[in-house]
């Protein structure tokens, strides 16, 4: 049930944020701190999500097959692979390492 709560509340907030942009006066944007923070926020959050998704297991830091997947994703991104290719290669690398008996 709590999953449903999270899904529905996050959906409401998401739509609220989108609609707010259409309703507030544009001059509210003319604040240098707000502009910088909103430009940098996705980078900080996504980097934190990469870290947590790769190196955490509950409240512990761990190193397992996901690290190999992430390394392969970096290589794919450096070679300008499209999003789906990056994701599939990372999954395949992690799955391969696990099939070989590690992580």
């Amino acid at each position: 049930m709590s999953t449903w709560t999270a899904v529905l509340v996050a959906s409401l907030v998401s739509f609220g944020l989108k609609l707010t942009g259409y309703l507030v006066p544009p001059r509210w944007l003319h604040n240098p701190v707000a502009t910088r923070v909103s430009a940098l926020l996705p980078a900080a959050l996504l980097a934190a999500l990469v870290t947590v998704q790769t190196f955490s297991s509950g409240a512990r830091l761990t190193v397992d097959a996901r690290v190999v997947g992430l390394a392969v994703a970096v290589l794919a991104l450096v070679r300008r692979a499209p999003f789906l290719v990056v994701v599939i290669l990372a999954a395949a690398a992690a799955a391969g390492v696990r099939a070989a008996g590690w992580g």
């Binding site: 959906s11 998401s14 910088r36 959050l45 409240a59 996901r66 190999v68 997947g69 990372a90 799955a95």
Partner: protein, 228 residues
């Protein structure tokens, strides 16, 4: 309205919208698979695409929930990533000039891709065409692919065996990658990653991600003079 009265700029915007829309939709399959791997039902995965409809926020929501984070932490991570859609709305409100239900529909379709296609068009007619074609194509395709991915993820059983946990990390990295070209964003990303790693053993699951937002707030405050 027949196509004969529309200029080449509008046709180019429609073509760009379709190609961006189809390419983006395809990775909805990874969202669906990752969502069920993280414990959502097929139906819940589909509702995130129907209602929440913002890729980064959806991955964040299912990532935090899958790691065992609280509802509050999951909603916070998802919502913080959604703030940028509000800023896109501010920009698009002046470009699209929609009223009533069309404005509500435009708001729901306001995401990275529809905004990016719209703002680079040369005139108001092609901006509008670019926005709607991209938004509707992504919405339909993203939802279909989410369902396909969720059904696929449900069928494969143990998600770790297929590396689906690594797929989620790779998805976040691929969303982050284009932002790293800007040096300030790269520095803030590094700070966010380090803060999150330092906090994982200390605070509740999901909160390290939210705390990383503090890195962006502090950096934004410190950098305010360089851009004003």
């Amino acid at each position: 309205m027949t196509s004969a009265v529309h200029g080449p700029a509008r046709r180019a915007a429609v073509r760009r919208g379709l190609s961006v829309g189809i390419a983006t939709s395809l990775y909805g399959i990874s969202l669906g698979a990752v969502a069920v791997a993280n414990g959502l039902s097929v139906w819940q995965a589909c509702v995130t695409s129907l209602l929440l409809f913002s890729g980064g926020s959806q991955f964040a929501l299912v990532g935090v929930l899958g790691a065992g984070g609280s509802v509050g932490a999951a909603v916070a991570a998802s919502s913080l990533l959604g703030i940028r859609n509000g800023l896109y709305g501010l920009q698009l409100a002046g470009l699209l000039n929609q009223r009533g239900w069309r404005r509500v529909a435009a708001a729901q379709l306001t995401i990275d891709e529809s905004t990016a296609v719209a703002v680079v068009q040369p005139d108001s007619e092609s901006r509008s065409a670019g926005f709607w074609v991209t938004g509707v194509t992504v919405y339909v395709g993203w939802n279909l692919m989410t369902l396909a991915g969720a059904l696929l993820g449900n069928a494969v059983g143990d998600p770790r065996r297929y590396g689906l946990d690594a797929a989620a990390a790779a998805a976040f990295l691929a969303l982050l990658w284009p932002r790293l070209k800007e040096r300030q964003a790269a520095a803030v990303a590094a700070a966010g990653a380090l803060m999150a790693a330092a906090l994982v053993p200390v605070v509740a699951v999901g909160l390290p991600v939210v705390a990383a937002a503090a890195a962006a707030v502090v950096a934004g405050w410190l950098l305010r003079r360089t851009t004003s």
